[in-house]
């Protein structure tokens, strides 16, 4: 039985819900040539850096080689700890939630406020040399259609373990930048089912994607989709 036939046979399938278009993406990093060896240089660079670079340093790391758990959820906080050895600044920067800000300019301003506050607090930080430079990187993202269409969330649950990690990145992470309510593509689609998948949507919203690898995130999404779809009364 084809997926299409299944959907047609399902009497409770809401009419007019467009199938979910599974996409994938690939990122390619680009050196901006801008780097900082002091906190003041980081601040000065942040004023003018391409907003795409700010995005990359919050989220791009998920698609880059890294080891084990992320201690901090963005590269600025990591550098404050590992390059500048300033734990206070690292902790403050680590608590910046990029999805809280309506656009990257607001996020830039928040970072600048935190850094300037710390520069004011410390006599030595404005001139202290970091043990490693902060390299500003930006990225180009290429998005492509996998040509796979999913009619119902149950099918998505079955497909989830087989999706590439970059597809997870596109739909669950990158979507936060694309969608006006900073949610993700899955929740955006589930909203079309008139509350039928409310529990699934709530559980997806509760995932904190900052500290997981994409592989772990995929596993978490699989479990949530499969468990929540079991309880849906179609």
């Amino acid at each position: 039985m084809s997926d299409e036939t299944e959907t047609i046979l399902n009497p409770s399938s809401p009419e007019g819900v467009a199938p979910f278009a599974l996409k994938d993406c690939a990122l390619i990093a680009i050196a901006t040539g801008q780097q900082a060896l002091t906190l003041k240089e980081l601040r000065d660079n942040l004023v003018t850096i391409n907003p795409n670079s700010i995005y990359h340093h919050f989220w791009g790391g998920l698609l880059e080689p890294r080891f084990e758990e992320r201690e901090y959820n963005n590269d600025f906080a990591s550098w404050a700890r590992r390059g500048l050895h300033d734990d206070k600044l690292a902790e403050r920067l680590a608590m910046v939630d990029p999805s809280f800000y309506s656009d990257l300019e607001d996020l830039r301003q928040e970072l600048l406020d935190i850094i300037e506050e710390r520069l004011d607090e410390s006599e030595y930080l404005p001139w202290m040399l970091a043990t490693e430079p902060f390299e500003f990187i930006r990225a180009q993202i290429v998005v492509f259609d996998t040509d796979m269409r999913v009619e119902r969330p149950e099918q998505l649950g079955e497909l989830m373990p087989h999706l590439s990690t970059s597809s997870i990145f596109y739909h669950f992470i990158d979507a936060r930048r694309r969608l006006s309510d900073s949610s993700d593509d899955f929740r955006f689609w589930l909203a079309s089912f008139n509350g039928l998948y409310q529990e699934l949507s709530t559980q997806l919203a509760s995932i904190d994607p900052y500290f997981e690898t994409l592989t772990e995130l995929r596993q978490q999404l699989t479990v949530i989709f499969q468990n929540c779809c079991l309880g849906v009364n179609r």
Partner: protein, 412 residues
């Protein structure tokens, strides 16, 4: 089964779907890679697989090798060292010869290069080719495999005008990039898990290689595989070994490497290494043919610990290879080694022979640690440094270049 399908068994089917999707807009395009050696060294190894893989994705990929005489390669070896920071003045006549050799090669390759949709020029040796192809129609990319972060300035000043005119460049790490007037993409290199150098070997093959070189399988073995190059610090490795043998007298050391056709300095360094090894029967200095990949594979697998005590390193593919064999790596705290060796997880970063000796002692006392770190090292490579990831980034770069400076490109 084609090569791509074989890779699916190691990297996963979804990776192949992704490659096919990304390659769609590039199908039928002519892509030419140019470097200066067909065998020996990391670049040749990467191209050996990257080019056929591109072809399987219906991209017309080819690989050209420029030719040169001894004088040319002396010049380019000096350039290589100068880009890595050594103060190596190069005479005007040698630099003129470098340009002449490139002009001669351009005469042979011009029609292919000018007609190509993408040309990837690897490292400084063929960099001037672009200047001799005035009717080029495609995008030209300079791929720098070297850590050029702190070059000897007069040599960089000579090279930069050749590089400036490219449409883009590629560096292995952001820290290696130079200020250039075009996008500088960041792509770490990779290893081929199915090549003779990395494929799983039967125990009896490993034993046979050890027998051939009189290595005692019952005694601890440390191995450094790399070209005989001062930046790889083989003499420092011998010092580290000597310091460690005070605590582990049964230790054996293998220093093995091939010689690339574009590296005339290798012979001098080998003599230095042999002199440092003196008559110690447990130091094995092996000069292997550049295509003796299975022997290198077996030596890495026979080792308890893999060393790469470089003082300068582009990326350090031998580190990746060692990790892929499930070995902890003691590596120099430099360049791309830092991206791979994570202290207490996949190995140790060191700055001196003393530091290397300390970590050798520590690990040989803790066999469980060797096993635990080796497992982590292998998984880290599987996720990040296999050929499929490398190919994906080349495809992404080519698609990105077709769309110029746009941050977000939607295909289809």
């Amino acid at each position: 089964m084609n090569i791509l399908e074989t890779y699916a068994r190691v990297a996963g089917e979804e990776v192949l779907d992704q490659l096919r999707q990304l390659a769609k807009p590039l199908q039928g395009m002519n892509v030419v890679h140019v470097n200066s050696t067909a065998v020996g060294g990391g670049v040749a190894e990467i191209l050996t697989k990257l080019v056929p893989l591109m072809r399987e994705l219906d991209i017309n990929a080819s690989w050209e090798v420029i030719t040169g005489d001894e004088e040319f390669f002396q010049c380019t070896k000096s350039m290589h060292n100068a880009l890595q920071g050594n103060q190596v003045p190069i005479s005007g006549s040698l630099l003129r010869h470098y340009e002449e050799v490139n002009a001669d090669n351009a005469d042979k390759l011009r029609s292919t290069l000018e007609a190509a949709d993408f040309v990837f020029i690897h490292d400084p040796q063929p960099a001037p080719l672009l200047n001799y192809c005035p009717n080029r129609k495609g995008k030209w990319v300079w791929r720098c495999h070297i850590d050029a972060s702190h070059p000897y300035r007069p040599v960089w000043k000579f090279l930069q005008p050749f590089v400036n005119n490219y449409d883009a460049s590629i560096f292995s790490l952001a820290a290696f990039a130079r200020a250039l007037p075009h996008p500088e993409y960041l792509i770490p290199p990779s290893i081929d898990p199915l090549s003779d150098k990395n494929i799983d070997l039967e125990l009896n093959e490993i034993d046979a290689v050890c027998d051939r070189f009189s290595l005692d399988r019952q005694r601890p073995l440390i191995v450094q595989i790399s070209r005989f190059d001062r930046f790889k610090d083989p003499v420092g490795v011998i010092r580290a070994y000597r310091l460690a043998t005070k605590f582990v007298p049964s230790l054996q050391l293998v220093l093995a490497g091939g010689s690339a056709t574009d590296d005339p300095e290798g012979k001098i360094v080998i003599e230095e290494v042999k002199a440092a090894a003196a008559d110690d029967p447990d130091i094995h200095v092996l000069l292997l043919p550049p295509d003796d990949h299975r022997t290198i594979n077996a030596l890495q697998r026979a080792a308890d610990i893999v060393l790469q005590k470089s003082t300068k390193e582009g990326f350090g593919l031998t580190v990746t290879e060692g990790m892929w064999k499930g070995k902890p790596v003691i590596g120099g705290d430099t360049g791309g080694i830092r991206l791979q060796v994570i202290n207490y997880h996949t190995g140790f970063l060191v700055n001196t022979p003393e530091g290397a000796a300390l970590r050798i002692r520590y690990l040989l006392q803790e066999p469980d640690k060797i096993e635990e770190m080796g497992k982590k090292a292998k998984e880290f490579v599987r996720e990040n440094f296999l050929m499929t990831r490398h190919l994906r980034e080349y495809l992404t770069l080519m698609v990105a270049l077709l769309h110029s400076a746009v941050d977000r490109i939607e295909l289809g």
